[in-house]
Symmetry: D2
Subunit: 341 residues, 4 copies
């Protein structure tokens, strides 16, 4: 059986495991006050071209989104997001459990469009009853999106400009950011991304770490008292250095981007094969997640030899499926998959 379910099926990249092992017996202070964590923060700020700002490490994506959004919003505000956004669909209501409404915008293959964001905000304030409604207090986007698609630099800049004019923060969920950075179609660098938002997070769980997400606050004071908020959200790791060591490794010798590039290359390889054999793309994704609309018969057949996910409920005759790659995907498995088509 070969596996393409998703990018968090294996453990950690071997270099990370090696470092965890090397440092295992050391005794360090808890909660991220150790030197590994300090070093990882410095490496990330450097990679992002930031001289000010802050970096925080949390454990998982849903928890990171819930904590950051809780930190950025005032009570009367909600978070704008594509209706397909992870926070609106697949977080079991974590945002609402913290008291905040997700204000949905149309999804264009997972992306929101600057004009529609701008229109939403201006229509909101044009309504005399707006104080009875939830104010758009921030914008959430994911890069890449839940559908594997990418915002171009120009799109990011436009969204950021809209947010700036409305005086609200732009927050980027980078759970799979490595697969954006590793995609040839990406026309932005990490420092450019950092300039286009107030806060973003660099996903580790899905890009080679055992777990862990690095929240980057691009300017001072945007998330005051964030440490106790992390604790309050249950997102503070006692052995905080585990996060420091992992991100230190990921941001040494560009391992993070290299992991992304490897996975994207393999995903695009089988994508091309699907296309060549006449299968239907559901979304044209340039990153490590690929979506196809398969005849049920073919899908069932493939599932005898490979694991992957149905994307939503099984359809009557056709079903949308998702196949993903990671640092752990082997070329021979991709070839085996292609042979099954």
């Amino acid at each position: 059986m070969i596996h393409f379910d998703t990018d968090y099926m294996a453990g950690a990249h071997p270099q990370i495991m090696e470092r965890l092992l090397e440092t295992n017996l050391e005794m360090t202070a808890g909660y991220g006050s150790d030197d590994y964590t300090r070093s990882a923060k410095a490496l990330i700020k450097e990679a992002c071209g930031l001289t000010e700002g802050e970096v925080y490490f949390l454990v998982g994506g849903t928890q990171t989104n819930a904590t950051v959004i809780d930190g950025l919003l005032a009570h009367h505000e909600g978070v704008m997001a594509a209706e397909t956004g992870h926070i609106n669909v697949h977080e079991s209501g974590a945002i609402e459990a913290s008291g905040h409404k997700v204000l949905t915008l149309p999804s264009h293959e997972g992306k929101v469009c600057a004009e529609e964001v701008s229109h939403y905000i201006s229509q909101f304030y044009a309504d005399d009853t707006y104080e009875h409604m939830v104010a758009p207090g921030m914008l959430y986007i994911s890069q890449p999106t839940e559908y594997g698609t990418l915002y171009s630099l120009r799109e990011l800049e436009s969204l950021h400009e809209v947010c700036r004019q409305a005086d609200i923060p732009l927050y980027i969920d980078g759970a799979r950011l490595g697969y954006a950075l590793g995609s040839e179609q990406a026309d932005f660098t990490l420092p450019q991304l950092a300039q286009c938002c107030e806060v973003f997070y660099i996903g580790g769980t899905k890009v080679g770490a055992l777990f862990g997400e690095a929240v980057v606050v691009t300017r001072k004071g945007l998330l005051p008292h964030f440490f106790p908020l992390i604790k309050q959200h249950g997102a503070l790791l006692a052995k905080g250095r585990l996060l420091g060591i992992q991100f230190e490794t990921l941001f040494t010798d560009q391992l993070y981007t290299r992991i992304g590039a490897h996975a994207v290359r393999l995903a695009l390889k089988f994508k091309q094969a699907f296309i060549d054999k006449g299968y239907e793309l559901y979304i044209d994704s340039p990153t490590n997640q690929q979506f196809f609309r398969l005849e049920n018969k073919k899908m069932d057949e493939l599932m005898q030899h490979a694991t992957f996910e149905m994307w939503g409920p099984r359809g009557e005759t056709h079903t949308v499926v998702r196949l993903g790659t990671s640092w752990a995907t082997r070329e021979e498995d991709v070839d085996a998959l292609i042979a099954l088509l």
Copy 2:
């Protein structure tokens, strides 16, 4: 100036004021443990044809929705509602502030459709990842809707059947229920409505009371420990008898329905005049709220003599407006409005 902004512009129906005055000097125990409250509850249960069940009195609509929904949902559940539903639009995020997500369904002139509710639920459970999503834990509808439209008895029964099959409660927001009961187009009685749902509320604020909403729980045990929840939501009135006295009055000699009928008759009168003069209906409402799409020039002209609400932002050339009536609307004011057209 004549006023058609909404149905909560005047004080209370004179009979209510009279009763409040008559009883003003009496001393009674607080928090609804008085005889007036007991009597009002009995009258309401009788009017609803209920032998079991409970009645609770709260102060306002948003607070009632937030408290009931909080009481009915488990943590992992959200409330389904039309995207135009009051809880989704005009409650400043009160539902989310209590930790619950509003799961939106398409709105058909303010109404949801049983097939779409059923489809939503079945698609939800057909998705393998459903435990990562917010489960549809109840259905919220408003009768009449925010657009003045009505569910027929058959539609209510269909919705209830869908809910029953999914084993979730149906909750009806009756903020303006009197205007449904007072509409000739309504094909249901109050007891029939009570049979079609688990919980509903009978709105007082917008139907002749100074304030107050009566929550009707149609069967025992559906909302356990609701009293402390009301208190926790800040919805418990110290001088609880004020609610008892008002609802006792409203449910004596069918005052509640008579108020509704008066307002609806006057609303339909000017609606017909708008139609006759060639104005465009935005929605075909059979109740006390009427919606028209007016040329801005005409709207501005009318606003010199009458007050009413823009429904959403002012449009470029045309704007949707809402005009409402209440127990306090006078026939001569309606005639004056018609003369302005």
Copy 3:
């Protein structure tokens, strides 16, 4: 039967009822945007000696506390209060339901002491692990307290000084403020009280209104976006003018203070009689609530002729009871009570 249970047993002061009746048929805009509300706010600011600041009207005490505290605290902060404070005991967890911890301080007959507040804050920040604990983000006191006792001006100033040094707001729950202002033992004026805190509320429900509390924000910007927060907490009254009219009446010709003085005079009258007849004071209160520790036999006897409250559970041989007066208490009833002793 004569009634001394509490101060919210009757309706409203007759002058309020009269004004509500006189204005009943007028049509005004909703949610407090009417002229009565504007006028009431101006009268209250004048009575408080405030030139800047804001006044907001809410419906009840628990709701007011929950909304104000939610507005003043950041996520990582809690509210310090006497362990006997209303928010800690009798609000069914409304503060925690909004996500905030009540940090308890020792109660000295219902009051907190400036030295202990100061000590609490300094010990908090002296603890290296303080970011894992809930920061003292504001101080809540009630004036008079839940035991009828009063803070002197000097005590208020000391508490305010401690708060100022810690850069946190002081919030005063004035549910029964009229009975402080009406007590001869009070050595402060309303403007002096307003100078001693950031936010306080002037209770209407327990001091002559049907319901209603006036939140006074003593300086601009202390509670930004408070209007949608009121709505979100379900505390926004649709017919907002009802609050405006009531407080306009209470703050005309010093009715508010006169109500307080009347009730306090009668309470002190029976208090003296209890003392003279050898009954045991539980607390020495100078306001409208009096607390005695009675033999159960005597208590049961009195309860045949008068209603009043047990303060906590019935004891084995003695029980603490509370007797209260209001604008509606008649001198003849106090004399009848005294005759029973």
Copy 4:
């Protein structure tokens, strides 16, 4: 420098690291649906002598407490705990952030006493106003406590009996349960502990794992829909097998208890030395955490050679300190510490 700050300063027990390494390249499904997790659950149920019930794995202690307590409480209920309980002191308000009040009981060296719990509950319901107060909905205790002390089996049984009579669950925070099981003073077994409560958790983070806590629900149906609640609380690990593998290792060949015994033996060794040299015990703890009250001069001196924690703020002349051991503590370091005394 030698380290006695706490028990989460090193990585994981070598056997755990070895297993993580061995399995690192395997591909398994996410979120705990893998075979390692299934196996770990079975081992834990067996070790607990449970045939029914459920086991869930979460990442950290605060998050576990917040999620379990949120799952067990109804809205109107709070959680009783010693005033020194971790949930009341060191979780940055995580319980309140989920909407629940912590109801504090006196702490007896970290423990609550059955009589006082029983008294609290009976006094609560003896108060006529109890529906205005937060009901005691569950009992939280920690074993060992935050002060290293242990409940005897008899004490646990008494507490459980009190809870059973009140029909509320008893929940045991076992963040350091291994150090109870590894203490000779413990007079209970794991199956006996499981019989004494409804839910408890077996701490991994502080007892040899990189991170992870195993929630044991001792009977079916006590925590319905707990999986989405874990997700909602941000406590669901994507690579769930990491928890399975760690706990599988800990519950093979009694590694968990052996780790505890090792640490306790070393802690008691230096404890005896402190006593022998005339130092003052702050608490008489039989587990891996030891508390002394040191002269500041001596404390400062020791801190030149060893790291440990001040327990609360530095005192004027003396300060309470905490020293802890873990699986990673070496005998030679303990001897070095003793030599410093």
